[in-house]
Structures are given as structure tokens and as C-alpha cells.
Symmetry: C2
Subunit: 718 residues, 2 copies
């Protein structure tokens, strides 16, 4: 296996803007893939879109349609920037080597039949050719690249296909130039994205299918597009990456420069790690990816429709300052539906402030707003609302600057509204440069016309109120990540004595020392090995107390009844001791004594850290004691994180309300909690031999955080 050399991606300019292209695998048969690609490139050249020279290559034919065919890349008189290869897999490595040796910069390998078909040998040969010559490769096993700006297009699927009734129907629409770069790990889905974007009236910067990623990966294209002036939004269909940390760093950079939207597939994938802690057993691969997405500030979408809707909004409309939405319509039902659905998308629909209300009442007095209209947000102008009403109301509201976002739903059905409403609303949008989305339900000619016109004017339109709200939500929540990159050094607090420890579960005492080393407090804990020692307990701790079995063999003591709470007297202590001792005897495990701590009351939290195969050390935080697991109410980040990230983790949780003081529980000091999470997150990062570490429960009350139980595991090789 040849290790990939870390190289910069600047040579990708030869992929998107080559001066010359060789197509290896043209054929006399026009339906062969090589021929389809060649014809497509020639067509783009004829139309003046593609400027590059094009050289067909096939050792077995002399010419095609009167154009000379070259027998090999070496045979081409000029330098070739880009080589497109569509020949049987077995012949590919040599062609790649030849291309590299002839100073070609990039190859797109359409051919399949490598590792994905079990041909590891061909894969190896290909990697060697890449390694030896330094050529960059897209694929193999890909439909390649389509760039409507330069005309580079290797998508070989038929644009038109014949139906069985003899007619031809468009099968794959042409993409138009736009500002969305699409990176996909699925060929089929990139065509779907392309098709859906087209129908939504939006163009693309380029579409790239990465195929087997033998050289160029999602991370590389992410890096390239994040520095590409034609790109505004990067849309990724992601199945998985190999180097999580490289990916996360690329993602953060891309998110700083552009807006990134990801559809992550493979959510049901089962995490393969051995679970010593609850954290490690409950956190799956998708939760770790989600943590990374949140750290980078990118938007994760759940399906194709959402991908296209969100990408459309981000590519056309400016990001909003906040989530305060004003809804303007002439259809009462849509007003009600938007109120119902807005909270689900994190949008608020605040009441009209007094000053603005006065201005709207003036419009009512002037009969611009009908007298029957009830002035509120959402504002239903009723079927009496005219195009003028829409314009003037929108202007008055937009000029107030009170709202962050606008949802405009001028239903065309009432006779009083016609298509002049489009230009009227657009005028106000331009005057105030606000964040606006239009919803026009229905699929009549009229509805489609209205949506198309708004799209052309740069106001994204949607055929459904929920979809419009989801798009608004993306505009409301998209935030650039705080400029940052992971620390390169792990040396700060690294604990030197860890290498003396044996592999296996951490002892409680060692776990305590590790936490203390990172400035995390632990509760005073007495370990008692025989009954006589119990009399000294009261000198150190005061009632009520809790007693638990001390064992390096049992991980979850409370599950086996190894914890007794609420001990209030010396007598309680002695009885509890006897019970636990008997339990240990019954279980036939070694007697290592009991631990005694003061009982604390508060909110039960869980704070854990484990090692992910793709992303390395991660940190997990949850609320709710035993319910954390059942409800899956926890958040995950790639370690290490700072307090701001930790605050975001806390705010993500469904149960966060209990931290603010619920019933008889004290409100928790959130800032201090965030600091604790941040400190804790550094432990695994800086000490690779700790594989899993967990405080469970961590009981919080006001400023007090008590690590009631700590468990962890040491493993020397990762």
C-alpha cells in the first residue's frame, strides 16, 4: 500500500480549467462511454463553452469523424493537462503512469473494476503509478466532473432517451452556471441533485463525484472549493471519510469562507467499538459526525429535498441576523400553518411592536389594509388584500427593521392579486436588503410562473410552507465557525505516569488523579476495607452518606445493587457495610472494600469521552441520569473543545431546562459546567493511552459538581 503524499490541491485548476484534454477510450461505437464523453466535450467546444484542445486516444483506430485519433498519450504532440480514462480497468494503471510521465496534471478515471470489485492488485498498481508520477486522480469508478463554466464534463449518461412509444424524452437536464459546488460520494445521487437544482431554478459551480477516492478525496475538493471565487455554497453527499480530523479541519475552513450543507448517509451504521463505559456504548458513528458538523458550523440535512431547498436559500439569499420571522399572506390557512410549524424550525413569530402597529393602523385608516384585517403576526390580509397592500405593508414592516426574516405568501387565487405583486415585493426587498423567502403553493401554471419569476429575481421560492420555513431556518441559524483549528500539540498537561499503568480498567484512585491533574474537583471519598475503620468515617464525612462496593472488576455497580444511599447513622453505615460485603461474597469476586462519600442532591449528568475510529478522541455530555441513554439526549464533539463549544453542547439538549432550576432542584452554574466539559475534553486528546473515560453520574447543584463515579480504560496501542 502506497501512502498518500500530503499535497496541496492547487493542481485541481487543471481539472476545472485545462488547456488540453485527452480522452482515452474513444471508439467507433458512439454509445461507448469514451465516445459519449468525447462527443460531449466536442459539442461544448463547438458551442464556445470549452476552450481546451481535445485529443481522442485509442491505439486501435486512426480517426473518428475525420479527426485524428492518437494511439497513446505520448503520441500527442502537446502537453496534456487533463486525461479522461474510460477503458477496461486492467489497462488503466499503465495509462495513468504514462499520463503522469508526460506531465499530465489530473486524470479522471471513469472505469470501474478496482477495489470495489475485489481487484486490490489493480488498486495497488494504480496507487503506485500515482505515487511515482505525482499525477492527481479523480476516481476510479466515477461519473467524474461536470463544470458548466469551463465545459469540462465527463457525465456520460444519456441526456435524452427513447421511450417505448418511440418518442425521446429528456432524461438528464443540462445544468446552468451557478454558485453551488456539489461534492458527492454517489453517482446516482449527484444526478438527482443536479436534476432537482435545475428544476428549482438554480445553477451550479460544478459537480464532482469522487468515486473510489484512490487519490483525491472529499476533503481535497472541500479545500479547493473553499478557495474558489465562483463558489458560494458547497453541498456534500457524504457516506464517510477516512481521516476525520483532516475532514473536520477542511470543513471548518470551508465553513469560514463559504456555506456548507451536508447530507450524511449511512446513519444506521453500527459502531464497532468495545463499550466499557455507557458513553462508548451509546454514541454511534453518526453522532460523532454530527458533532463534527456542529463544530464546523455546517448545516446537516436529512434528505434530498431538504438538501436542495436549503442550498437554494443559502445560494440566493443573505444570512439573517436572528430568528424573528414576519409572515405576510392573504390566505388565513397558510398563516395558521406557518405559526404551527415555525417553532419546529427554531423560528419565532414575535408580536408586532407598538411603533410598527401604529404605522399599520395608519395603513388601515387609509383603507390600504382592509378594515376586517386583524393586525398581528402572521398577518393575514384576507382575500381583500391587493398587490398594493402587499407592497405597502411589506415596506412598513421592513423599514421598522424589527424582524430578521420575512415569509411572503401572496396567494394568487383571490381576484385582487395578480403577478404585478412580484415586482412590488421585489422593489421593497431591494430597498431594505432583507432576508426574504416566498411560498406559493400549488402546481398550476400560474403558481409555477410566480415561483420562477421570484427565483429569477433572486428571492428563493418554495411550493410548500413547511419547505419555506425550513429554508428560512437555514438562513436564521447559519453561523460562521469561530476561526480555529485543532491544536497540533498534545503536550500541555500530558500525564507522564500513565505509561506505568497496566492495560485495562482504571482504578478509582487513578481516575481521581487524572481528573485532578486537569483541574477537575472530585468529592472526598473514603475507602474502607474492614468494619473497624467505619468508626473513623464521621471524622472525615458528615451524614447522610452513600456507600458502594469498591471493585476493579465491576463497571456498573448500581446495576447490581452495589450502591446504598441515604445512610444517616453509624448503625446505617455498619448495616450497609455488612450487606455489601455479603453481596461481594455472593458474587464470588475479590473483596476490595467499599467507598463512602457524602450524599449530594442535584441534577444527574453524564460526562464521557471515547475514541472514535474515524475522528479519534470525542467528548459526550448528557442530562438525566439513567434516562440519557433511553432518550438518547446527549451531545458529542470532537475533542478537545473550548468552553464556547461546550456551551453549545449544553444548549443542544432536550432536557437543558432542568439545568435552569426545575421543581426542587437548584439551577446549575452553566458557565462552570462548560469549563468542566472543556477541561475534561482535553484528557483523552492529550493522553492517547486513555481509551474511554466517564463521570457518571456527575451531580450538579448550583456551583457544586460532584463526580460520584468515574470509570475508564487504559490501552497502550491504538
Amino acid at each position: 500500500m502506497y501512502l498518500k503524499v500530503q499535497r496541496d490541491v492547487s493542481e485541481l485548476r487543471y481539472l476545472f480549467n485545462p488547456d488540453s484534454i485527452a480522452v482515452v477510450g474513444v471508439s467507433q461505437n458512439p454509445s461507448k462511454i469514451g465516445s459519449v464523453i468525447y462527443q460531449r466535450l466536442m459539442k461544448n467546444k463547438t458551442q464556445g463553452i470549452l476552450k481546451a484542445e481535445i485529443y481522442p486516444v485509442n491505439p486501435n483506430i486512426k480517426s473518428i469523424n475525420g479527426v485524428k485519433v492518437y494511439s497513446s498519450i505520448s503520441d500527442i504532440p502537446d502537453d496534456v493537462d487533463l486525461v479522461v480514462i474510460a477503458i477496461p480497468a486492467a489497462a488503466v494503471p499503465d495509462v495513468v503512469r504514462e499520463a503522469g510521465e508526460n506531465r499530465a496534471k489530473v486524470a479522471v478515471i471513469i472505469s470501474g473494476g478496482f477495489a470495489e470489485s475485489g481487484r486490490i492488485d489493480l488498486d495497488e498498481q494504480l496507487r503506485k503509478a500515482i505515487h511515482d508520477t505525482g499525477i492527481r486522480v479523480v476516481g476510479p469508478n466515477t461519473i467524474g466532473v461536470s463544470d458548466p463554466y469551463s465545459g469540462v464534463d465527463t457525465f456520460f449518461l444519456p441526456r435524452f432517451k427513447q421511450l417505448s412509444n418511440g418518442k425521446y424524452a429528456e432524461s438528464l437536464p443540462e445544468i446552468s452556471p451557478g454558485n453551488i459546488a456539489v461534492i458527492s460520494q454517489s453517482g446516482a445521487l449527484s444526478e438527482v441533485i443536479m436534476d432537482c437544482l435545475k428544476v428549482s431554478g438554480i445553477g451550479v459551480r460544478a459537480i464532482v463525484c469522487v468515486g473510489n477516492q484512490v487519490d483525491l478525496t472529499v476533503e481535497d475538493f472541500l479545500e479547493y472549493f473553499s478557495n474558489d471565487p465562483l463558489t458560494e455554497v458547497i453541498a456534500i453527499y457524504l457516506e464517510g471519510v477516512k481521516d476525520g480530523r483532516k475532514f473536520l479541519n477542511a470543513l471548518i475552513q470551508a465553513s469560514i469562507n463559504k456555506k456548507v450543507v451536508i447530507l450524511k448517509a449511512g446513519k444506521t451504521e453500527v459502531a464497532g467499538r468495545t463499550a466499557y463505559t455507557h458513553t462508548a456504548s451509546m454514541v454511534g458513528s453518526i453522532e460523532v459526525y454530527r458533532g463534527a458538523f456542529k463544530q464546523a458550523g455546517v448545516i446537516e440535512v436529512e434528505d434530498m429535498e431538504e438538501m436542495v431547498d436549503v442550498v437554494k436559500a443559502l445560494s440566493m439569499m443573505k444570512i439573517a441576523r436572528g430568528n424573528k420571522l414576519f409572515v405576510l399572506t392573504n390566505a388565513g390557512g397558510l398563516a395558521v400553518l406557518s405559526s404551527d410549524l415555525a417553532p419546529r424550525y427554531g423560528l419565532t413569530i414575535p408580536n408586532i411592536p407598538e411603533e410598527l402597529m401604529k404605522k399599520l393602523e395608519e395603513l388601515k385608516n387609509k383603507k390600504i389594509i382592509d378594515p376586517i384585517v386583524f393586525l398581528q403576526n402572521p398577518l393575514d390580509l384576507t382575500a381583500q388584500g391587493t398587490c398594493q397592500t402587499f407592497e405597502e405593508v411589506f415596506r412598513v414592516v421592513a423599514s421598522s427593521g424589527y424582524y430578521d426574516l420575512y415569509l411572503l405568501m401572496p396567494s394568487h387565487q383571490p381576484p385582487s392579486v395578480d403577478d404585478t405583486v412580484i415586482d412590488r415585493l421585489f422593489k421593497v426587498y431591494r430597498e431594505y436588503d432583507c432576508s426574504v423567502v416566498v411560498c406559493e403553493h400549488g402546481e398550476s401554471e400560474w403558481s409555477k410562473y410566480i415561483r420562477e419569476r421570484f427565483d429569477q429575481l433572486g428571492i428563493p421560492s418554495y411550493p410548500d410552507v413547511r419547505r419555506a420555513l425550513r429554508a428560512l431556518s437555514a438562513l436564521a441559524t447559519y453561523r460562521k465557525p469561530r476561526n480555529k483549528i485543532f491544536e497540533k500539540t498534545r503536550e500541555t498537561n500530558r500525564i507522564t505516569w500513565l505509561h506505568d499503568l497496566e492495560e485495562g480498567p482504571l482504578s478509582f484512585e487513578d481516575a481521581v488523579k487524572i481528573l485532578n491533574n486537569y483541574g477537575l474537583e472530585t468529592p472526598k471519598t473514603l475507602r474502607v476495607l474492614n468494619e473497624e475503620e467505619l468508626q473513623y468515617v464521621v471524622e472525615e464525612l458528615s451524614f447522610p452518606l452513600v456507600m458502594k462496593i469498591y471493585s476493579t472488576k465491576i463497571s456498573h455497580k448500581s446495576d447490581i445493587g452495589g450502591v446504598i444511599v441515604g445512610l444517616k447513622t453509624q448503625n446505617d453505615l455498619i448495616e450497609a457495610y455488612k450487606m455489601l460485603k455479603k453481596k461481594v461474597e455472593d458474587l464470588k469476586i475479590e473483596w476490595e472494600g467499599v467507598q463512602i462519600q457524602q450524599m449530594v442532591k442535584g441534577v444527574e449528568l453524564i460526562l464521557g469521552s471515547s475514541y472514535d475510529a474515524v475522528f479519534g478522541p470525542t467528548v459526550t455530555f448528557g442530562i438525566g441520569g439513567i434516562f440519557t441513554e433511553v432518550l438518547r439526549d446527549f451531545s458529542v464533539r470532537i475533542a478537545p473543545i473550548d468552553s464556547n463549544d461546550a456551551l453549545e453542547m449544553i444548549n443542544e439538549l432536550k432536557m437543558k431546562k432542568v439545568l435552569k432550576g426545575f421543581r426542587d432542584l437548584q439551577p446549575v452554574n452553566i458557565e462552570k459546567l462548560a469549563e468542566i466539559i472543556s477541561k475534561f475534553s482535553k484528557i483523552l486528546w492529550e493522553n492517547p493511552s486513555i481509551k474511554q473515560l466517564e463521570i457518571n453520574p456527575l451531580i450538579a447543584s448550583g456551583d457544586r459538581f460532584t463526580a460520584v463515579d468515574i470509570r475508564g480504560i487504559i490501552s497502550k496501542n491504538r
Copy 2:
């Protein structure tokens, strides 16, 4: 206010199939609403769709286009079945009275300007005319009815409108006949539904907008369509009903005969009731509606798109036996996405069973399935899959009968698949009569053609995998309600001594007596008024004990520290007593003693009942103690319910897993719990003077259920 007389809805046949129609409010001006409706009816008559005689009415004109105009309804020589009224509101009540007196059966009042504009007087006059004559009325303030079978159509909105570029565009598509009845409380949304159904290739039985519901309500139309042979699915856009119990009974009947889908608007509406119990404070109006929907077995949808998608599936495809889904595609990305999304829609994608696997391997040996295909579910045939592969694989899988549902996604992009795949798949579908949904992504001509053809063949198709799965979910989950209707009598266990109680909070002792009366056990509870009595406690109860303030004034004792747990000795008891006594003194409330119970360990539940303004008594069940409220993890039903309903309530909860034995908690006897919920649900129903009642917490462990605290409130007038 005239009370509505309870009448059957059989006269609605004159609305949908009249022999004669009078249109009151025709005009020389063709764009007036009355004229538009008249012209539309005449057109339907000319085309032979509408069979009825049509009589234009206007006292001020003699003829219209050479047709005689009648001066009044009395002036018409024949009986009139249906009267459509589009004149100013003030004149409406007299016309309705005249129509009723002339034996007209139904009137559709298009005119607005009644209660919705504050004209209560006109509303009253209208009700009186209805009451006096017995005529049935749709509206007022509605766009009325559109029935593509009989041609009755009062939708007066323009079918075509002129764009500012001079061209005419279709603004409201014609509906075609189908089996979906639409009942809507919003005019605008019924047009949207109509438009979207049209574009999805499905027709409707009829669309009805109920307007102000001065006579005929949503419940009436529900009843009518549930006995209508042309109707298969009933789709309702619901803002709210007045008589919840009548609605629920109509819903149950409709759900037994047909399939019902509801979009409930107004979810954010705040519940107005006074909350003495936690139950009453956390259950809002939407939760009560949702409980009713579940009791009736109807499907609730969240937005328009879902409404149309689900209705389409239910109207075209048979209900599935279960939720086991087989996914067949040639696009790997779609296979992955369907796996990811299926669990969200309650669908499972089980592995291929051994016997079926053998048959698929035979297909592989015969080269019908390509050798590179990995046999699993979802099954990705890859771009090598042909139309024949699709057919033969579908046949082999369908013939096994192992799966309940099929999602077919033959992506058209690979050259090997053309439109003959449609007939091939249809053939297998017909052979095995299974539940099938097709997904074809994209908006190219080809994609649209494929979807249209599948729709025409009766296999519902969707342009998005998530939407297809959601439709499959409706087919998997739709279940007829168990045939039932609410008891008419409340006399079974009614507690006679309740009328002796004063209004206000229930005492603990009375609450205990109420529960016992319904066969619900309560824990032994001692009430102690002075310290001396504490010495007798051990004779009745054994340690550990819990002590709480007894007070008819404080509702939530634990919130104020009025509960002390874990008392293990006589000394503990005395100390706790002193503390609570001091607390009561500090709070300056009357001393009513303390209660002492044995401590129990188990899962904390909450069981409550409260009175809803629309639906009357309801029952609420939740898991998780204090977290129930934060997580809103509870289920609601309209009381009374049986044990089967109660089991459904339990199964709905996110935290139900903890009932099955979680960590150190005992598994709870679910059947016994369901019985308890059912018994409890009868209390408010049979005893109207109990307004709220709550057991919180109800601690469950195995077969033991301990009502640790009970509170309730008595109110004589409802």
C-alpha cells in the same frame, strides 16, 4: 341563540345530487360571484356532467343571455333542491327563509359578513330561518362545494387569469373524479389541496369548505362521506370543532368505513384551563385532539405536502399487514438513504430470509442479477440491473410473502433501464397484490413520465425517497379502530357522596376513597397530628419511611421541600416531624399534620385526568417523574378508555423502554398498568364534579403500583 336540532345528514344528497338548483345573485356583470357560479353550472350542464335544472334568481333583472331570470325563489315554478346564495349578507336570512318555506333542502351561502365581521344580528336571523324552516345550510362565508361527479360546483375563483404580459395562465386546475373527499375549514387551503392532488395525478370525490358552520359542520360532512359509496379516503383540514365528543364519534365511524387523514391547524393555541395538577398544566389543546385522532385510528399529518402524499397512497394502494419493507433499486445512494430514513417512519428493513436468499442466488447464477451485486435488503442491483432483473427479483421476493411492503426505485439514468420496467413491475404487482410504492427522483421529462405512468396503473409514485417512505408508513400503520362508541350512561360507579363535598381541592382521604371506589389500590398512609403519635407508627409501617406535610392548601409539596424520604429509625421520624412542622410554621399555613408512608422504589409515573373545554374528561399518562413535563413525554386520550387504548398510550411514550426493566429497576407489569389507567379514566367521566385528578408520582415496580401522592379538585358547575 337558536339551538341546533340534531338531524341526520341524509338531506346532503340534495347538495351533491340535486334535481334543481337556484342561483340567487346572478348579475349582468359576468365577473360577479353569482354570475361566475351560474356560468360554471351552465357549462357543466352543457357538457352533460350536471343533470339538474338551473334557475337564475335576481329581482332586478329579467333575463341573462336570453334565459329568464326569476325574481325570487317563490317565483320558480318547480321545487328547488339546492339554493346557492351570493348576495349581500343583510338580504341572506330572508332568502334562506323563503327557500326553506318553498321546500328547498339545502342552501350554500357564499356571502360573508356575518359573525366573522361582528354581525351577530345577521347570524341570529340566519339561525332562526334555519330553525324555523328546517333547511340545511353550508356556510355562510365559504367558497362552498365542488363535486366532479354531479357537476355541482360553487368554487367561484378564476380558472384562468391574465398575466401582466397579456397571456392567460391556468390559475385553478379542474379537478377530476376520484375517491377522496376533502373537508376544509379554510377556503384557500382547499384550493391548494385540490391543486396538489391534481398534480399528483389523483382525483377527488368532492371538496367541501364548511365556512362559518352556522348549520352543517365538519362532523356532519364526516358522517355523510363515511356512508358515501364513492368515497374511500376522507381528508380534513381542521382548525377546531365545538363538540369534541360528537366529532370523535363521527371520526370513529368514518375511520371504520373509510380511511381518514387530518391536518390539524392551530397547534400553538394556548390551553386556557386553570391548572391545579401538573397534568392540567402540561396538556394543551393539540394533545387532546391528537389523543382523539389516535383513539379513532386516523392519521394526523403535519403539512400540505404530507397530506397529499399520504392521501394519495391510501386512495390508491391497499393497507399493508405490517411494517416489514423490502427496498429494490439500482442506485446505491438511494438504498443507503432509504435505510437511514426508514426507522423514522416506523418501518423495518429486515434481512433477506435464508430461503429467499437461495432463490436470489439462483438468479445470480443465471446472470439475471449481476455477479457484483451484494444480496441484502435494501437490494442495490447497481447500474448493471436491467428491466428484466427488476421484474424477476421483484417476483421472487413478492412470491416469498415475507415482506409487507415494497419500495421500488428503478432509477432511469443507467442506459440498461428504460420505461418498459414500468409494465414489468406492474405485472408482478398484479400477480401478488402487494403494497407497493414507487420513488423516481428528479424532474426531467423522463422522471415525470415514469411517475405519471405508475400513478395511472394505480401504483403511487413519489419524487423523493423520504416522501415515499412516509407514504409507506401510512400504509403500514393505518388500522381500523376497534368497533366502539362511547358509553351513553355515566351511572356505573358514580360516587354519590361527592355532592356533599365542598368545591376546591380534594382532601387526600377523599381522593383515596375515590380511587378505592374504582378498584384502585392506595398505599397504607398514616396521618399524624402530634409528636406523641409517632411512637405508634412502627406498629403499622416498617422502615424505610417517607414523611410529607399534610395540607389541603399546598398542591405540590415536594416543590417546597415538604417531603422527606429515607427515614430509617424512630429518631429519623422525630427529626423529620420537627423539620416539617417548622416549615409549616414558616410558611404560615394551617397545621394539618404529616403523612407517613412506606418508601417504595420503582419507575416514577404520572397518571392524570382533566376536563377539556372541547372534549370533556381526558386521561393523561406519562413516564419519568419530573422529566415528563420537560420532555413532554406523555399521552392523552378522551375518557373513558379500555385497557387496549391504555396499552396504546403506554406504547406511544419515548421512555417506554424503562418500563421493561432498565438498569436496577424491576420490569413493570404492563397489562396491570393498562387496567389501572383504564379504571382511572372512568372516574372523571362518571363523576362530573371532579374536575382534575392526578396520581403523581405513581411508583411502579413489577406488579406493585403505589399512588404516592394524589391531588384533585372539585367543581360543581361545568
